[in-house]
């Protein structure tokens, strides 16, 4: 065994050889790597740790930069880890933190290695294992190593201590109970004077505060002190982040902090810190006018800076301000608009967002015009970005900002013609949505649809197919508004429609059907006189079309000559056209297309005979002979003429139960039949029905009551099941069930659902026309049909409790459990022993195992108390003026918060004060 081992270690390829070999590429990269891997596999099994570690290092290299799997070496890495040599350890730790993950099988074996190194006297070994722990920690590791990390948190080697502080964050995340042990020491480190440690602690708190800021409010005084005293920009930035989270929760804190932040903003020369101040102010202090003004001033400096980074960040900050102070954006309008043509796509997008934030009902037309022009000029990506944001802004809140729908619909048409447009789907939705919701715009909508449909060039653009399908649908649905339906027929049946995908083709055919029925109806039933309103307006473009499409020329000519009214002759031509265009589709391989084509042709067959006959005869004759045909036409026309309206998402639940239908009876039977497998609980039926149905429901209640006695238990089980797996149940009863259990506070509409379903229904049928706002334009805003619930989906009730994950729960336990007593008691001059005793008890309950922990806790708390007293004294002494102000504020706030005042009076007795009121110690007021 010794022979090969010696050879291995003497002639092993080192990492450098490997890299050199790779770079020379004599035999090709892949081949070389696989050869190297083979060697590594052999070497890594060696008993010599040097050979092994070199192999491991090479493997790391390959895994890291060439992404080769190194999980096979997990155990070997552990073996190298056990080496006494630092260099081996280093390689092993590197490999482990690179390759281990939660499901690595040998993870269990590493605990002892880590523990050994965590307690090592070599600070670098400790640091290595901490680093490794931060990367691979899982619940078990975090739990098992908590005591070691805890000890390190107060290590007198600063290097180790600051690393332990950083790692503690990961330990908390994985094993929240460790908070109970370590949190105190972490907080103590906040008062350390070493900037490195302070930076690490503040970093940890800023991460923690991101997740659940409320828990860290009691620490505000410490953070405040750091903010005021800190000389290091790194620390200031982190503290600002913490305050950005804390300030919105506690207005008094915000009052106190805003001035130092403004000071910092004025003084600092570092752009990063300056930006952090600006961001903190605009996100969390937007009520403080002067602070915002100052921030805006700084933002403006950013905006005009040469550096694209600052420009970008300036725009970014503006977009944060925009939600609360729109004036800031309009003040900087020029810069923003100019940035739209910046070479940097990120800046462009940011400025686009800002421009969209400025949109209101007064300027939407202008801004859209400008933007569409930009879109025409810019690259496809940004073009679609622009179009997308126009579409989403305009459709926000059921087209809230649109007053002139005619304009908007034509804008949609214009947008779909922009060469790079890929927003077909969204445009399609809006076309149809507007058609359904806004009655007044339909003529214009039909005009836009016509323009889109008759342009054969558009059919070639696959991005537009969705738009065209919407246009086709519009043309069929609202054909009565068209000036010339025959034109639509030609457009819908033009030869190039073969370029469309089958699903859209089917929509085309269906729309053609509708248009045809409309033509026939106007011709035969209404006598043809009223129909041809006039085609002269669309005359020219129409003529072009007829020239282009030779196939349809006969019909087209007939049409042009007669210039509008639908005559028998034109109908005959129309029927011919339909047959001509659709007969090839009978053989289509798509079922939908084939079926619809067949439908339409069948209908044409029915009609054709009559139409042909009548065409040869006098008008009167045709009336008589075409009776049958007219009947059919009338029938079909009636079928199509029923208007479609928008449908509420919850509409199904509102359908009243018809008189004759007793749904519950059957279910009652079912109940008896299937004994324990029961259907909806009686609750579902007794609630939520409109008053008209009262007799029915009460009847059913009776019925169910008979049975419910015996099967109450299973009913509740079922309700439970339904709650959990609502997906598999019919939605009808669901809303009632849910609202019984947790009333969604945010949604009065939904609550109303329960009580006056009936009145809601009335509203629905009356198409609840709710004009949002008094239009003060020359042209009145058309009515937009809105359904109460369609647009605001029931928002899940935000439960604060649910956000309380175990981590912040633990933190809160520590902070509120002890600290809410601590600050008040330290101010109320409780006897020291009493306090200590309380402390001790607290610690004992939390840390069962370690005795020294308790001792530490005691000493530290003493230290801490002294310190806080000192701090207070210093603060008092600071200067008279500030104290006056503080006093005044204190008075103010005490008058504002009588409860708080009382609580302080009562603090004499060791009474448990409600945590909310004592969250901020007096120091801040």
């Amino acid at each position: 065994m010794s022979g090969p081992s010696l050879m291995d270690s003497l002639f092993q390829r080192t990492l450098e050889d490997l890299i050199k070999g790779l770079r020379q590429q004599l035999i090709g990269e892949q081949a070389f790597i696989s050869k190297a891997l083979e060697e590594i596999r052999k070497e890594i099994k060696s008993t010599d740790l040097s050979t092994k570690s070199t192999a491991l290092l090479k493997l790391c290299y390959l895994s890291n930069l060439h992404f080769h799997d190194m999980s096979f070496a997990a155990f070997h890495a552990l073996e190298v880890l056990s080496s006494p040599r630092f260099s081996h350890k280093k390689i092993a730790y590197h490999a482990i933190s690179l390759s281990f993950h939660d499901s690595t099988p040998v993870l269990l074996l590493i605990t002892n290695h880590l523990r050994k190194d965590l307690t090592s006297t070599n600070e670098f070994e400790v640091s290595l294992s901490l680093q490794c722990l931060s990367r691979i920690a899982n619940v078990d590791l975090a739990r098992d190593l908590t005591p070691e990390v805890f000890t390190l948190l107060s290590s007198n080697k600063l290097y180790v201590r600051k690393r332990a502080v950083a790692v503690v964050l990961r330990v908390f995340e994985k094993y929240p109970d460790s908070v109970r042990v370590c949190f105190k020491r972490l907080v103590e480190n906040l008062e350390n004077y070493d900037p490195q440690i302070l930076s690490a602690v503040v970093g940890v708190f800023s991460e923690l505060a991101c997740k659940d800021p409320r828990s860290y409010l009691p620490l505000a005084p410490e953070f405040y002190k750091i903010l005021v005293d800190s000389k290091s920009n790194w620390i200031s930035i982190k503290v600002l982040k913490i305050f950005a989270k804390l300030a919105p929760l506690e207005p008094r804190l915000a009052n106190r902090v805003v001035e130092p932040i403004c000071d910092l903003m004025r003084k600092t020369g570092a752009k990063s810190l300056l930006f952090e101040c600006v961001r903190t102010v605009v996100t969390s202090f937007s009520e403080y006018e002067s602070a915002v003004r100052l921030a805006v001033e700084k933002i403006r400096e950013f905006l005009v800076d040469e550096d694209p980074n600052l420009k970008y960040l300036g725009l970014h900050a503006l977009s944060i301000v925009a939600s609360k102070h729109l004036w800031v954006v309009s003040e900087n309008k020029e810069v923003v608009i100019k940035s739209l043509s910046d070479p940097d796509p990120n800046i462009k997008i940011e400025s686009l967002r800002l421009v969209m934030a400025m949109v209101s009902e007064h300027n939407v037309a202008e801004i859209s015009k400008v933007l569409v022009n930009y879109a025409l000029k810019s690259d496809p990506l940004f073009c679609n970005e622009i179009l997308g944001s126009i579409l989403s802004t305009c459709s926000r809140n059921v087209y809230e900002i649109i007053v002139d729908f005619d304009w908007y619909v034509s804008l949609l048409g214009e947008m779909s013609r922009i060469p790079h447009c890929q927003m077909g789907e969204e445009i399609e939705n809006q076309f149809i949505d507007i058609g359904l919701r806004v009655k007044d715009v339909r003529p214009e909508l039909v005009r836009v649809a016509r323009d889109l449909l008759i342009d054969p060039a558009l059919l070639g653009n696959s991005f537009l197919h969705r738009v065209l399908s919407a246009a086709a649908w519009v043309s069929g649905e609202y054909v009565e508004f068209s000036r010339n339906p025959l034109e639509f027929m030609e457009a819908l049946l033009q030869p190039r429609t073969s370029l469309l995908p089958p699903s859209i083709m089917a929509i085309y055919i269906q729309s053609a059907f509708k248009v045809l029925v409309f033509c026939l109806h106007t011709c035969f039933v209404r006598g043809g006189s009223t129909a041809g309103v006039s085609a002269s307006a669309s005359y020219e473009s129409f003529d072009d079309l007829s020239v282009e499409n030779g196939a349809d020329s006969t019909v087209a000519h007939g049409q042009t000559c007669t210039s509008a009214p639908i005559t028998n002759e034109s109908i005959v031509n129309l029927l011919k056209l339909v047959e001509l265009a659709l007969s090839p589709l009978l053989g289509s391989h798509d079922v939908e297309v084939q079926e619809r084509a067949r439908n339409l042709l069948g209908f044409v067959d029915l009609i054709k005979l009559e139409a042909l006959n009548s065409s040869g005869q006098e008008e009167n004759d045709s009336e008589r002979k075409g009776v049958e045909a007219t009947k059919i036409i009338r029938l079909v026309h009636d079928a199509f003429s029923k208007e479609l309206g928008p449908v509420s998402l919850t509409a199904q639940g509102k359908v009243p139960v018809p008189d004759g239908l007793t749904l519950n009876e059957n279910l009652g039977d079912l109940e008896t039949i299937c004994g324990d497998i029961e259907l909806p609980s009686s609750n579902t039926f007794s609630f939520g029905y409109p008053s008209e149905e009262k007799d029915v429901s009460s009847f059913s209640n009776l019925q169910i009551k008979e049975d419910s006695g015996q099967s109450n238990e299973s009913t509740s089980l079922l309700a439970e099941h339904r709650k959990r797996h609502g997906l598999y149940y019919l939605p009808s009863g669901k809303s009632e069930v849910i609202s019984n259990d947790y009333p969604p506070a945010n949604d009065p509409a939904l609550q109303g659902d329960n009580n006056d379903n009936a009145s809601d229904l009335v509203k629905l049928t009356a198409e609840s026309l709710v004009p949002k706002r008094k239009p003060n334009h020359s042209k009145p805003r058309p009515v937009v049909v809105k359904l109460d619930e369609v647009d605001e989906k029931p928002v899940a009730v935000k439960q604060l409790e649910s956000r309380d994950d175990s981590l912040s729960g633990a933190v809160r336990d520590i902070l509120f459990g002890s600290e809410d007593i601590l600050p008040t008691s330290s101010r109320s001059n409780l006897p020291n022993s009493n306090r200590k005793g309380k402390k001790k008890q607290h610690m004992i309950t939390q840390v069962e195992s370690k005795e020294n922990v308790v001792d530490d806790g005691n000493s530290s708390s003493r230290r801490r108390k002294d310190h806080s007293h000192g701090k207070e004294r210093r603060h008092r002494k600071k200067n008279a003026e500030e104290r006056n102000e503080t006093d005044r504020k204190e008075k103010e706030s005490s008058s504002n918060h009588p409860r708080r005042h009382k609580s302080r009076q009562r603090a004499e007795e060791p009474l448990k004060v409600p945590p909310q009121t004592s969250v901020i110690p007096d120091f801040l007021l």
């Binding site: 081992s5 990492l15 040097s50 590197h94 680093q131 490195q196 930076s199 960040l313 990120n346």
Partner: protein, 161 residues
């Protein structure tokens, strides 16, 4: 926090990757491919920030290398730029005007330096001098160990064990 650090050469070759959040091997390659495509294609005079899957990637080019760090949406971009610069300066001091080749052949050393600088995705040490001192101390530890290991007597001792 910083989620990962990438060093990518102008040709798209990866020179260093460090992951502070859990990413599987597959995700890692995907991330690198995606970001490489985005970042290498950006022109020279654009801003140094890229929005990427709800995160922000801050990158800066030094000679032929792109240093990229991925951070959370509300982290401070300028601060991260400073961290990158800090890292580069330390590398420069350690290798003596660092070049891409230094990082290629001493890839593990670059890691060790980064580990001194960042821990658990946060800046650990903001002093260049301190980092240099720490690295030197560890290097000397490694060297003494190596000398011991490679001395002939040691090899013979092992061979005849």
């Amino acid at each position: 926090m910083i989620h990962f650090v990438l060093l990518i050469s102008r040709q798209g070759k990866v020179r260093l990757t460090k992951w502070y959040s859990p990413y599987s091997q597959k995700e890692r390659t995907k991330v690198i491919r995606e970001l490489g495509g985005v970042i290498l294609n950006r022109g020279p005079k654009l801003c140094n920030f890229v929005d990427w899957r709800g995160f922000k990637v801050v990158y800066k080019r030094y000679a032929s290398l792109y240093f990229c760090m991925c951070i959370d949406q509300d982290d401070n971009e300028l601060e991260v730029l400073e961290i990158i610069h800090h890292f580069v300066e330390i590398l420069d001091r350690y290798f003596g005007s660092v070049c891409e080749l230094d990082l290629i052949f001493n890839f593990h050393k670059a890691y060790y330096i980064l580990d001194e600088l960042l821990l658990a995705g946060e800046l650990q040490e903001s002093s260049k001098k301190t980092v240099a001192r720490l690295i030197a101390a560890q290097d000397s530890l490694v060297e003494t160990a190596k000398e011991q290991a490679s001395s002939i007597s040691n090899i013979i001792a092992q061979a005849t064990k």
